[in-house]
């Protein structure tokens, strides 16, 4: 019988939320070092990180063993902007755009996760509330 409380949707949302937060950490670090000479901008390879996170869970289901390990974070160098004269590759506008997009995605995912939990709660209550 499938686990209703922790189904793939809920797990997927939680993993994506975690990875979005990781990406936010990287983007914040980039912005903090916008004037640091020689700093290379970094980003998260979101696609492969998410694939990896789901693979860990799929393995967990097959082996009847949940693996609580945090997924390996694939941090890559952000090569979308050329290096300045001081060797810094942080493009302020680009990083701000990424930060905003990533933050909005986080808010959307958090809302979705809340709705999903609300559905489970409604099922538990039997719709009496």
């Amino acid at each position: 019988m499938p686990n209703i409380l922790f189904d793939p949707t809920l797990r997927g949302l939680a993993e994506t939320l975690t990875l979005t937060q990781r990406r936010h950490e990287l983007l914040t670090s980039n912005l903090a070092n916008v004037e640091t000479p020689g700093f290379r901008a970094r980003d998260l390879d979101f696609g492969s990180a998410l694939r990896e996170a789901f693979a860990v869970h799929r393995q967990g289901e097959l082996g009847e063993l949940d693996t609580p390990d945090e997924p390996h974070v694939s941090v890559v160098e952000d090569r979308s902007a050329p290096a300045r004269a001081d060797g810094n590759t942080v493009d302020l506008d680009l990083q701000m755009a990424k930060l905003t997009a990533n933050g909005t995605r986080y808010l959307a995912l958090a809302r979705l996760l809340g709705m999903r939990i609300g559905l489970v709660r409604q099922a538990i209550d039997g719709g009496t509330r």
Binding site: E35, T36, L107, L113, I117
Partner: protein
């Protein structure tokens, strides 16, 4: 790592940029200062930025205080703050202005004024302000995300 750590990273940047603004303000204020404690005209000063790993966070403190080595805490640090490691003097020569009546004029009648270029300082000022604002935006984004995360179960 968590959103608190992210706020810490942004805070290091805000502090560094504000120190940079302090130094720029000092340069502009002393653009015409011909006497200093060290003697001679004021020398333009410049900050040196370097990345700084966030060592003093909760996770590493807990790790140091406890015996168990847990994998998530030992993972690669994704967060890097910034710190002003040094404030150095600009060694370029002073601006020589012919003004024989000035009390600090040399034998030829030239006065050594600070090597401060107000235009360059203003450009630096704008860059520092924009970098500061960008990090304030990052703080706001982190705060909104933390609020959204807290509201998930509600």
């Amino acid at each position: 790592m968590d959103l608190n750590g992210t706020l810490g990273v942004s805070a290091t940047a805000l502090r560094a940029e504000r120190l940079r603004l302090d130094v720029i303000a000092s340069n502009l204020a002393n653009a015409n200062t011909t006497r200093t404690v060290e003697g001679g005209p004021y020398r333009r000063r410049n900050v040196v930025f370097a990345t700084q790993a966030l060592e003093n966070d909760f996770a590493s403190t807990l790790e140091a205080a406890s015996d168990f080595a847990s994998a998530p805490l030992a993972e690669e640090r994704t967060q890097q703050g910034v710190a002003v490691t040094d404030v150095i003097d600009d060694t370029s020569p002073p601006r020589m202005v012919f003004d024989p009546g000035h009390p600090d004029a040399n034998k030829e009648g030239y006065v050594a004024y600070p090597n401060v270029n107000p235009v360059a300082e203003m450009v630096d000022l704008m860059a520092a302000t924009r970098a500061y604002e960008a990090n304030v935006q990052a703080v706001n984004a982190s705060r909104r995300m933390a609020e959204a995360a807290l509201a998930i179960g509600g």
